[in-house]
């Protein structure tokens, strides 16, 4: 029967081409708008480390010596050097990495190119295995390099292409500010969305969070070495009192170091929670901090939620697109109603010849579904167009945008579901056509 209904539907759609085109276009435009914004949402709110995000955690203690009797402040987004390195040195997690970033001048002495300003990530050796960072050549530095303050570096795929035309550059030298470092590893293209390990301060950003989707740093250097190379270039998150420029950044009253840990089981997570609480209590008894009970241990996804990483403009656009889809659906409901009710005579004949109401309903829904399928094709093309338009905008996440298989299938599922939903009322009305009345008018 389905094949027959399909044939009927095609004939019916051909009969009034303008009306058919109107319905298909309405669905296509509604689907195109909502799938474009939904795809952006999907790519921006996804899991940046799908392989192991459940085991990654972000510990925080509140190192501020200022009292907060009413407990209104959550801990600051990052820690001071002392707290972060104390937690790191304890090695109580399965893996752990310190993170801080800075900008500096970068040259490759063996390559004839003008100097450039590069972003440097100061981190520790666990960073690469912990976040599943892919390597193209070479590999990470060793834990002892962190201790020895070795002058080594890992560089991004982009920088390797820019300086060395993509050749294996392991063993070559880079000059970072005034220090020479040896390249030990080159990353394969790596573009986590968002750049989660640098996410902080989302709650102070008024929803302007597109900066969280910028590219990873160009060069990665052991934390200890980077402090000798570029301590002055490190940007702190905030300070609880004015820093004295003559004091080293390690001793300044400023917050600038983040710590990420990997905890492989729920029991270890509990243990770690206790560990940071104990640490804070101990530091309070030493008189260094005042808010011992103000600690947090977010999982990676909780931390991203806490920072509301998806820009508020993107969320607003998604709402708008779905309101728009709803309008398109109402429009389709109206047009389908007109179309089906215009055929009451035909339906009356079918009913008189023995078709049940269910059969009429089915026939109408097949026609609605076919319109949905055609609208889905149009919606898919419009989604590609919409994404291409956003890719041309100067936003940080522009290069991330593409239509993946899940979203491609969802386009058609949504289009057919929407059109069936829109066809429901008109089909029901058509199946209720009063038999006798219609036959008399024929």
């Amino acid at each position: 029967m389905f094949g027959y209904y399909l044939d009927l539907a095609i004939r019916s759609l051909k009969r009034n081409k303008v009306l058919t085109a109107l319905m298909v276009i309405a669905i296509a435009v509604g689907i195109g708008a909502s799938m474009t914004t939904l795809t952006v949402m999907h790519l921006l709110s996804g899991d940046p480390v799908p392989t192991r995000s459940g085991t990654l955690f972000y510990p925080q203690v509140d190192p501020s010596p200022l009292p907060d009797p009413e407990h209104i402040h959550k801990p600051w987004d990052v820690m001071d050097y002392r707290s972060a390195t104390d937690l790191w040195n304890a090695h109580r997690a399965d893996r752990q990495a310190l993170v801080a970033s800075s900008a500096l001048r970068l040259t490759a002495p063996e390559v004839n190119q003008p100097p450039l300003m590069a972003q440097m990530l100061s981190t520790t050796s666990d960073f690469f295995p912990m976040f599943d960072v892919p390597f193209q050549f070479g590999g990470s530095w060793q834990p002892q390099d962190d201790q020895r303050r070795a002058r080594v570096a890992v560089i991004s795929s982009d920088l390797n292409i820019k300086l060395f035309a993509g050749a294996n550059s392991v063993g070559r030298t880079l000059r970072l500010k005034d220090s020479d470092v040896r390249i030990v590893g080159v990353l394969a293209p790596w573009r986590p969305s968002p750049q989660f390990y640098d996410v902080r301060g989302g709650r102070f950003s008024n929803g302007n969070t597109s900066g969280f989707y910028s590219k990873p740093e160009d060069v990665f250097v052991p934390f200890s070495s980077s402090l000798e190379i570029n301590a002055g270039g490190i940007q702190w998150f905030t300070c609880w009192s004015s820093p004295d420029p003559n004091v080293k950044i390690e001793d300044s009253p400023c917050l600038w170091v983040a710590l990420w840990v990997q905890l492989d089981s729920a029991a270890k997570v509990d243990d770690y929670r206790h560990f940071i609480a104990d640490y804070a209590a101990q530091q309070k008894s030493l008189g260094r901090i005042t808010r011992a009970d103000n600690t947090m241990l977010c999982s990676l996804m909780q931390w991203l939620d806490f920072n509301q990483v998806v820009p508020s403009d993107v969320r607003l656009q998604t709402w708008l697109a779905f309101a728009f889809l709803l309008i398109c659906l109402f429009n389709t409901v109206g047009l389908l109603l007109a179309k089906f009710l215009r055929r009451t005579g035909e339906i009356g004949v079918r009913r008189a010849l023995g078709a049940t109401r269910g059969a009429v309903l089915e026939q109408c829904l097949v026609e609605a579904g076919l319109i949905g399928l055609l609208g889905g094709v149009g919606g898919w093309l419009l989604t590609l167009l919409g994404l291409a338009l956003i890719r041309r905008q100067p936003v940080e996440y522009a290069d991330l945008l593409h239509l993946d298989t899940a979203m491609f299938l969802l386009t058609f599922a949504l289009a057919i579901a929407a059109s069936l939903l829109a066809g429901m009322v008109p089909a029901w009305r058509a199946s209720r056509v009063a038999l006798g009345l219609q036959l008399k008018t024929l």
Partner: protein
């Protein structure tokens, strides 16, 4: 007209579902339209925020990676070289520029014992400039004076994060906020142990970072700074020339600074590009909203056309009967127009309520202010008009039905 309404109601009662559909479609369109147009107007207002510097004439070149210890000799040498470029009227160096994203905030109080952590303080942006900065930026002095040579020469960074000077120039907006109704010149900003006395008031200059619809976008303060005491904070060179020379000046300035400072990185931009880049997000959002509005109104109009045409074709016989018993074409037209007007009215009444509700929701969850009342009747009139335009075609077709139809069997 009044006579006409009753039969319309009677017939609408028979076509409940299509009537409800049109009403809902208009209501939704009205609600989305009001809010979308309001968002567009906010974005457009943001994009056009006035900024009292010479936006068209300024070229900014950022010089990164220089040696802070040599700043005292390097900066005057760089400035002298830039001054030599043909077409450059004035040159200076500054810490940051309005709308450059690179913000240095600090909070000041008005009482001599204020410290930086006081809750009642006002957070402002700090911008440092070298001598001649007022001319290079094109700042417009409204009251008092700009800094004199001694003040430039004596201002330096010591061990504190604030410069060792005691003079400041503030914008008019900030002056009015801090000292409403009083002359600002001679007043003092405190963040002990530092204090700064206002020597001049300038026309409103935007902060390095502004946010949508904020009342604090002009909280900008300027301080003098000497090259030798700049500790690397003076890194953005400003060149002012005629707008048509900008691109050439930019290119030559990048080259000159690159040659003089081989170890550093020089990268320039015209100020209008800096501004465009800052608002790029907002303008793309505004264009998207415009597109959505246009397509949405078109979809709504076509929906009305479709449904009304269906009604017309269903009522051909009725129309023929009416024509046969003396109704003019005008009467028939009027019937469909009035019917559409009634449906639109029901739609916009619901739509205005919905628009108001959506606005309240957006105010709670997004950076959105209250929609002024006139957007509601504005949206209503818009949809009334669209309804009437959409119904025109089908109504004309209805009016063209000849009376003879009445005599034929349906």
């Amino acid at each position: 007209m009044i006579m006409e309404i009753r039969p319309i109601f009677a017939s609408l009662r028979k076509h409940r579902i299509p009537a409800i559909l049109i009403v809902l479609e208009i209501a939704l369109a009205c609600a989305v339209l009001c809010n979308a147009v309001f968002m567009i107007s906010q974005r457009v207002a943001d994009i056009h925020l006035p900024n009292a510097i010479d936006e068209q004439g300024i070229v900014a070149v950022r010089l990164d990676g220089t040696d802070d210890k040599l700043a005292g000799s390097d900066i005057p040498r760089n400035l002298a070289a830039l001054r030599g470029i043909a077409g450059v009227q004035s040159v200076a160096v500054t810490s940051t520029l309005p709308l450059s994203h690179n913000n240095w905030g600090w909070s000041f109080g008005l009482k001599p014992d204020s410290v930086v952590t006081d809750q009642t303080n006002t957070n402002v942006s700090l911008l440092f400039i070298s001598e001649g900065g007022d001319k290079a930026l094109g700042l417009q002095l409204l009251q008092g004076r700009f800094f004199n040579s001694d003040e430039y020469a004596n201002s330096a960074f010591g061990s504190a994060p604030l410069p060792e000077t005691h003079v400041v120039v503030v914008t008019r907006n900030l002056a009015e906020k801090l000292w409403p109704g009083q002359p600002a010149v001679g007043k003092t900003l405190y963040s002990m142990p530092h204090y700064y006395t206002v020597v001049g008031v300038i026309a409103d200059v935007l902060r390095p970072y502004v946010s949508s619809q904020s009342s604090r976008n002009y909280y900008t303060t300027y301080y003098p700074l000497s090259a030798g005491g700049s500790k690397g904070y003076l890194s953005r060179y400003i060149l002012r020339g005629a707008p048509q020379d900008r691109d050439r000046i930019l290119h030559e300035a990048e080259q000159k600074l690159g040659q003089l400072n081989p170890a550093a990185v020089a990268k320039g931009q015209t100020y209008s590009d800096i501004r465009t880049q800052f608002f790029a997000d907002m303008s793309s959002m505004a264009w998207m909203l415009v597109l959505v509005c246009v397509v949405m109104l078109a979809v709504t109009a076509f929906g009305i056309v479709g449904l009304t045409s269906f009604w017309v074709s269903q009522r051909r016989r009725q129309i023929g009967v009416r024509r046969a018993v003396g109704a003019t074409r005008g009467h028939i037209m009027q019937y469909f127009q009035t019917e559409n007007f009634l449906l639109s009215t029901a739609g916009v009444v619901i739509g205005m309520g919905l628009a108001y509700g959506i606005n309240l929701y957006l105010m709670q969850h997004y950076e959105m202010s209250r929609m002024p009342w006139y957007y509601l009747p504005g949206g209503a009139i818009g949809l009334w008009l669209i309804g009437q335009v959409a119904v025109l075609g089908p109504a004309l077709r209805a009016a063209a039905v000849p009376p003879v139809v009445a005599t034929r069997a349906a």
